[in-house]
C-alpha cells in the first residue's frame, strides 16, 4: 500500500529533518528521493556552517532559535555525533572597504538581537592566531559554529527510519496530482503512485518542475558551488570562517581536515545539468583566497574537491508555506545556499506546516506569493 499520512519529496537534510519530526509525532511518513543516495544533493555539498551572523533579517530568528534550542542537543537526540562545534564565526576583512561591509552586517544582525560585534586585528589574532597580518579586523559572533552536513543528514535519516519512516531512493517523482482540488498523490517515473493527506516538496531546485505540475512557480536559479577538503592536520582552531569579500569560507573538522568553499564569480552562469562536476578555475581561486588569509596553510594538500547545486531564490530566502490554491501541499525550497545552518528548524517548521499545526515560529516572510513586480 502506497498510502501514508505524509509524503515528503526529497531526502536531504531538511526533508529528512521534517520526516524525523513528523515520525516522532506518530505520523506515517514516506520519503521519496530521486537519487540513489540520501542527502546526495546540496546536503553533502556545503561547508557545514551553523551561522546566525550575516543572515537576512527574515531568516535570523530561525537561525537564532535553532542555535539556542535544536543544535546543542542534536547529537544526543539523534543518537550519533553530528560534529557540532559552537566556537564562533570570524568574518574577516583586509581593507577599510571590507570593514564597512562588516559594520553593515554587524549592525543589521545586532538590530535583530544577535550578539555580534566588530573586533580589531589584535582581538582577531587572539581568537585565531594563524591569521595573516593582512587581516585588519573581523566581524565576530561567538555563538555561531559548524557541524558535519553529511552526518546531520544521515543522522536525521537514520533516526526517522528507526521511527518507521519509509524511505525509497531511486524514486523520481515526475508530478503531483490533485484530486477534487486537493494535492493528494504523487506519480514517479516508473509509474508508482503514492497518496497521502499531506505532501511536502523539499527537493531543492528540482522542486520547481514538481510545483509546475500543479500550476505553481517559485522564481529561483540553480547555482553551482564547490567545496574542497584537505588532508588531516593537527588541530589548530574551531571557529567557522568567512570573509567580507565572500571569496572563501570554511572550518577545520573534528577529524582534522579543513573543509573550504569559495567563489570565483561565475557560479550563477554554470550550465545546469544536475551533475557534480566542478569548474577548473574553482579550486585555484579558492586556494588563492585561503592563502591570502592563512599563509600558514599554503603547504597543506587538497585531497578532494566536489560541486553541487543550490536553489537560489530571487530574494535569497526560502519558501516555506502551504499555498492557498493547493490544499494538501507544503513547499520547502529556495534555501539559497544557506539552508544547512537552519536545517533542523526548517525541518521542524515544515513538519508543523505538513501536519496542520501552527508553526513554532512565524513563517509569514516565507510565503510563496511574496514575489511582486518591482513597479
Amino acid at each position: 500500500m502506497n498510502t501514508s499520512d505524509v509524503v515528503i519529496i526529497g531526502a536531504g537534510a531538511i526533508g529528512s529533518a521534517a520526516a524525523y519530526y513528523l515520525a516522532k509525532r506518530g505520523l506515517s511518513v514516506t520519503v521519496l528521493e530521486k537519487g540513489a543516495c540520501v542527502g546526495g544533493g546540496g546536503s553533502s555539498r556545503n561547508g557545514g556552517g551553523v551561522r546566525q551572523s550575516g543572515r537576512h533579517s527574515a531568516e535570523l530568528p530561525l537561525a537564532m532559535y535553532g542555535v539556542k534550542n535544536l543544535w546543542p542537543g542534536l547529537s544526543d537526540e539523534l543518537g550519533m555525533d553530528i560534529e557540532y562545534y559552537q566556537e564562533g564565526n570570524l568574518r574577516l576583512g583586509k581593507t577599510e572597504a571590507h570593514m564597512k561591509i562588516l559594520q553593515g552586517l554587524t549592525d543589521s544582525c545586532a538590530a535583530g538581537g544577535l550578539d555580534m560585534c566588530l573586533i580589531d586585528q589584535k582581538q582577531a589574532r587572539e581568537i585565531c592566531p594563524y591569521l595573516s597580518e593582512d587581516v585588519i579586523g573581523a566581524g565576530w559572533c561567538p555563538t555561531d559554529g559548524h557541524a558535519n552536513p553529511m552526518l546531520v543528514t544521515l543522522a536525521y535519516y537514520r533516526a526517522a527510519r528507526r521511527l518507521g519512516a519509509r524511505y525509497i531512493t531511486g524514486a523520481e517523482v515526475t508530478r503531483l496530482r490533485k484530486l477534487r482540488g486537493r494535492v493528494s498523490e504523487v506519480v514517479t517515473a516508473d509509474g508508482e503512485v503514492y497518496s497521502a493527506g499531506s505532501i511536502a516538496v523539499v527537493a531543492g531546485y528540482d522542486s520547481r518542475k514538481l510545483l509546475a505540475s500543479v500550476g505553481l512557480d517559485i522564481p529561483m536559479s540553480p547555482i553551482l558551488m564547490e567545496c574542497i577538503v584537505t588532508e588531516e592536520a593537527p588541530h589548530m582552531f574551531w571557529q567557522m570562517l568567512g570573509t567580507a569579500m565572500a571569496d572563501f569560507y570554511g572550518h577545520q573538522s573534528k577529524h582534522g581536515s579543513f573543509v573550504f568553499g569559495g567563489a570565483h564569480g561565475y557560479e550563477p552562469y554554470a550550465a545546469y545539468d544536475g551533475g557534480t562536476r566542478g569548474a577548473s578555475i574553482s579550486v585555484p581561486s579558492t586556494c588563492r583566497a585561503i592563502i591570502g588569509y592563512f599563509p600558514v596553510l599554503r603547504g597543506l594538500k587538497i585531497v578532494r574537491s566536489w560541486a553541487g547545486w543550490l536553489d537560489d531564490c530571487a530574494d535569497h530566502i526560502p519558501v516555506m508555506d502551504n499555498p492557498r490554491e493547493t490544499p494538501g501541499l507544503t513547499i520547502g525550497c529556495g534555501f539559497s545556499g544557506h539552508g544547512f545552518g537552519i536545517s533542523p528548524v526548517a525541518g521542524a517548521l515544515l513538519a508543523d506546516l505538513a501536519s496542520g499545526e501552527t508553526p513554532t515560529l512565524d513563517v509569514s516572510k516565507f510565503r510563496y506569493d511574496r514575489f511582486r513586480a518591482k513597479i
Binding site: 540520501v38 552526518l151 525509497i168 531512493t169 531511486g170 592563502i291 585531497v303 578532494r304 574537491s305
Partner: protein, 109 residues
C-alpha cells in the same frame, strides 16, 4: 534512472563474523564489522557508508578499499556488487598542495 530501493528492511539479528575486526580502509582504520553494521543502520550504498564512517575519505581517497567496501555492502544487502554505484572519483588524482593550485593563473590575456 536510478533503481528504486525501498529502505524498509528487517535484517534480523546481527551475526558477528570472526573477521569483523579486520581493517578494510587503512587510511581511516575502518573495520569490516563497522561497515556491516552501517549497512544495517540504513547506509545502503558506497556513498552513504563513506560519509557515515569515512572509509575511502583518507589520503588514498579509496583507491585501496573502494572495491572491498562495495563488495561488503553488497554482501550485507544480498545483491551482486555490480548493482551498486562505485565511489565517485574526484580531482585531484593525488593529494596536491594548495600553493600548487594557487599558482594556476592565466597570464598575458
Amino acid at each position: 534512472m536510478n533503481m528504486s530501493v525501498d529502505r524498509t528492511r528487517d535484517f534480523g539479528e546481527y551475526v558477528p563474523a570472526p573477521d569483523d575486526d579486520i581493517i578494510i580502509c587503512r587510511c581511516e582504520e575502518v573495520t569490516k564489522g563497522e561497515i556491516r553494521r552501517a549497512v544495517r543502520d540504513g547506509m545502503f550504498n558506497v556513498h552513504e557508508v563513506r560519509r557515515f564512517l569515512r572509509c575511502g575519505m583518507g589520503l588514498c581517497q579509496g583507491q585501496t578499499c573502494a572495491r572491498l567496501v562495495r563488495t561488503l555492502i553488497a554482501r550485507e544487502l544480498g545483491v551482486p556488487p555490480g548493482v551498486l554505484d562505485e565511489a565517485t572519483g574526484r580531482a585531484p588524482a593525488r593529494p596536491t598542495e594548495m600553493y600548487v593550485f594557487a599558482n594556476e593563473k592565466m597570464e598575458g590575456i
